[in-house]
């Protein structure tokens, strides 16, 4: 499955864009053609917290043409150790408004659509809209289950990331190709506990997610499909776990049957 970002030749790069993105355009894997693909891409970022601060920032800096960022939360003082898109004078503001303000100042050439809303079963399809891929920047299992279903229904990649303490994990779920979120985590239930997070962890995990997003947009191989990366900041080790589809998965097996 390839991410459809439209016909890259249709997106004309302005002189200001050629200057701004020069250091990535000169990378052979990108070039002007790749930059046009990035410009044509539409990305859904679910959450404007610790992970979303980073992924939204790097996607905008890279020149993503359109990004929809969704969150229904307001900035709190305790967010500021890791949610670096929000600053002290943003406390009390909507996170999406705070994020949009910074992102527009960072790169006015990108369209940032900030939506103050909950991601729910009955809203997710409209919220994701015609975005080409989903970047998971949520902080709970329930919303991830909803994003996973949207990914399967729309047949678009779902780039999963999660953090806890000094640890984090990341993978890319590709409908029809790889396991889905439920293949791996269907037995896990939501827990009512406050998760501690040291700031650099979402920075690291969301950076990997963003790199995945850009690689998928560029059509590059060797992404995290079928591989769950687990990083432990306690002993500074990176582990790779091979993951496979679960034939009895209660969710994606249903969509597989529909495909047949």
């Amino acid at each position: 499955m390839k991410v459809s970002a439209g016909n890259p030749s249709c997106a004309v790069l302005l002189q200001s864009e050629l200057r701004r993105y020069n250091r990535q355009i000169i990378i052979p894997n990108i070039g002007k053609r790749g930059q046009r693909r990035i410009k044509k891409a539409r990305v859904f970022v679910a959450g404007a917290g610790g992970l979303g601060s980073i992924s939204a920032y790097y996607l905008t800096a890279a020149g993503i043409g359109y990004m929809r960022i969704v969150d229904k939360d307001r900035v709190k003082e305790e967010n500021l150790n890791r949610q670096i898109i929000h600053w002290t004078d943003d406390i009390g503001k909507r996170k999406v408004d705070s994020a949009k303000k910074k992102l527009q100042r960072l790169n006015p050439l990108c369209t940032v659509d900030a939506v103050y809303d909950d991601i729910k079963d009955d809203t997710v399809i409209d919220l994701v809209g015609d975005c080409h891929l989903i970047v998971d920047a949520t902080d709970n299992i329930t919303t991830r289950r909803i994003l996973n279903r949207a990914s399967l229904i729309k047949a678009i990649p779902y780039i999963f990331g999660g953090v806890d303490g000094f640890n984090g994990m990341v993978t890319t779920f590709m409908p029809g190709e790889t396991p889905c979120f439920e293949c791996i985590f269907s037995t896990f239930v939501e827990r009512k506990r406050l998760i501690g997070v040291i700031g650099p962890l979402p920075g690291l995990i969301a950076s990997i997610q963003t790199l995945e997003a850009i690689k998928l947009i560029l059509g590059m191989e060797d992404t995290l499909k079928g591989r769950l990366l687990f990083f432990s900041g306690i002993d500074m080790k990176l582990k790779e776990i091979r993951i496979e589809r679960n034939d009895t998965c209660p969710v994606c097996s249903v969509y597989r049957k529909r495909e047949m």
């Binding site: 303490g165 640890n167 791996i184 827990r191 776990i241 091979r242």
Partner: protein
């Protein structure tokens, strides 16, 4: 009568466990307090629905990993 044991590497440490032990029994054997663990066997994810049928062999590397769902 003594129980036959095998040696595995669990979370990086050598451990002796009963021969023919399955993953679900292994979790109980080590009194893993947190049932919310991902189990990795020789670098491969083990699906929970197979825990009662997957048998651990001598020399296997097993990891119990707590997944991360914060953001």
């Amino acid at each position: 009568m003594t129980m036959k044991t095998i040696e595995i590497i669990l979370n990086g440490y050598k451990e002796k466990v009963p021969e023919n032990i399955t993953i679900d029994k292994l979790i109980s054997f080590f009194h893993e307090k947190d049932s919310h663990v991902i189990v990795e066997l020789n670098n491969k994810y083990v699906s929970p629905h197979t825990y009662s049928s997957v048998v651990v062999s001598d020399g296997d590397r097993v990891e119990f990993i707590n997944p991360d769902f914060g953001g």
